[in-house]
Symmetry: C2
Subunit: 386 residues, 2 copies
Amino acid sequence: MELTHALQQIQPSYIREILRDAQAPGVISLAGGLPDGDHFPIALMEKSLASLAQNPALFQYGQTAGYGPLLDYFRSQFKLPEHHESLVCTGSQQALDLIARAYVNPSDKVVMEAPSYLGALQVFGLAQANIVSVSQQADGPNLAELEACFAEQSPKLFYAVPDFHNPTGVTWSLEVRQKVAQLCQQYKVTLIEDVPYRELRFTGEMLPLVSSFCPDQALVLRSYSKIATPGMRMGVVSGKSEWIAPLVKVKQSADLHSSIPMQAVLLDLITHPDFPSHIEKLRVLYQERYLSFAEQLQAKLPQGCHFNPVEGGMFVWLTLPECDDFALAKAALTNKVAVVPSSVFYKKGERITPGLRLNFTNATAEELVSAVERLVDVIKQECKTA
Amino acid sequence: MELTHALQQIQPSYIREILRDAQAPGVISLAGGLPDGDHFPIALMEKSLASLAQNPALFQYGQTAGYGPLLDYFRSQFKLPEHHESLVCTGSQQALDLIARAYVNPSDKVVMEAPSYLGALQVFGLAQANIVSVSQQADGPNLAELEACFAEQSPKLFYAVPDFHNPTGVTWSLEVRQKVAQLCQQYKVTLIEDVPYRELRFTGEMLPLVSSFCPDQALVLRSYSKIATPGMRMGVVSGKSEWIAPLVKVKQSADLHSSIPMQAVLLDLITHPDFPSHIEKLRVLYQERYLSFAEQLQAKLPQGCHFNPVEGGMFVWLTLPECDDFALAKAALTNKVAVVPSSVFYKKGERITPGLRLNFTNATAEELVSAVERLVDVIKQECKTA
């Protein structure tokens, strides 16, 4: 059967495709965006999971927008104004997909920082959007470029990951946040603020959401994959009711609604009195791993390799001297360390900076030491280092 | 924000929209396709739910295609040949949506029996398919019409619900199954065989899947919403590997994968030694309800109303004398019985038979008696009965 024109353009996700190889015995994976499976808050969920059987009503069909008590909690927790609503999704990935399906016609312009989250490139690619890239600096997007793009190209959406960006780890400064919000309002561009890593800040001060400066010009995607568990597939999108309603309509077609038992367990978990200390433990754990990983990289990488320090999240973005980043990633896998080549984070045909995205949250401190050694060997072989 | 051209054409699901009203206190709902919530196999799931906390690996990201042991079970249970595969979906609704997104370009022709499953009308509407209707008879689609349509219009897909059709309850005869399979092969039309009600046969003999006569020309959608529980959102699509792979690619964008804990619980449930007797109990329960419901309708309906007996499933399709079916459904809701007007099961602009879809699985025998009384009152008021 012939594929749709849209799907013919889409590459399968490199990361999803190598997930199996990356999980092979002996391989240390820095490839996925996987939280540490040994530190899931399972103990905080145990009672809730066991009690599901006492609540058969959770197993009936439910409202498309989500489980009522969870939506009520989101309203209060996110301090949503009266005219805003939330929609529970099968991961925030689904929220992004619903937005594209509700609002993006083929050729509509969607702005993203380059490099970009692979899942967003796929979603907007499948929607046949015209993806417009703006370059990213150490404190967020290049504002002059962004304004010129908004003014000259009238894009519909600006998709952004302002906290511990995937793949680069960049966090937007307060000034950038305020300016981007102002530009979105001025040029009537809808901000899609994706904040899956926001709670994983292990140093520095938490900054306001960009959307807090333009609440009626934004849709916010929150994920529970990094602070709760990804296997449950729980995310939520919030914004003006008139912008959420069309997403609900698409979700009716897409899957009717997300798993209600999982939504009930999520609510029990995130309202558990010990949940904040679970997040705090994650922050400490990931900070320890990051610091030792960064130290190892600093000590062992050959000249011409570079990375900026990060204040949280899950990734280090390593730029490399001239090399074939795919060949490098392949050689690394052979040498039993899985990494993601930078090319996959750029739209097709875009000029790339050769490099690697390195995840530091899913390997132990000891594994991270070995991973750096294996990786450095391969970089020395594959890159034209000085 | 302006909606996509595709979404602008789509009506929200009448059934999803009235779900809240239909569940209001005092209202007897014959509207949804809801299984009886008092007979969910929760007891068979209790141990499995409680044991999830002992298996943290289930809470990590997983493969897009689904939880390995569940896929293995499907391979053996469905007797899939070597070159076939399955993909676990968030309900079989998602499988249908993925098929449309992978294979249906705007204007591609998709054949359906009229009236049709509302969720399929929505999915193919959102894909901007050209929906071609063939009329339905007591034993399945009108074969002459279907062949003419295949021969003259070269459709890409034929979407069908051959067991206890939604909304009509019609089951295809063996001869129709064989002939449709032959036509699909002859004209290279892919059969989408949707069988959510298949196990709910309470009389007569189970007939082979249509796809068993054309396995390489079909995709089969199975649902666990009717025999397990709908709130978990579990369905599966099976077919040739080369046809499943593109669905996996779309699902990567759509939600990465479906909830793994729910997949593990489903596997425990459907392999539980008492699961077959749970299904048998459901069949007995639904048969009792159907028989008493049919008897009540037969006894009390005014002249000019008609329904065909059904051998299983969840619905009775009541055709009515001349009336405004929407006004009738609204009046029924005021009279505290929720039903679905026949119009919603036809594509826009199509000539409809005025009628109602009546669900008999989610109300008790006593409620069904009252529901018929309330409904008959309203029909006498709203329809031009003799």
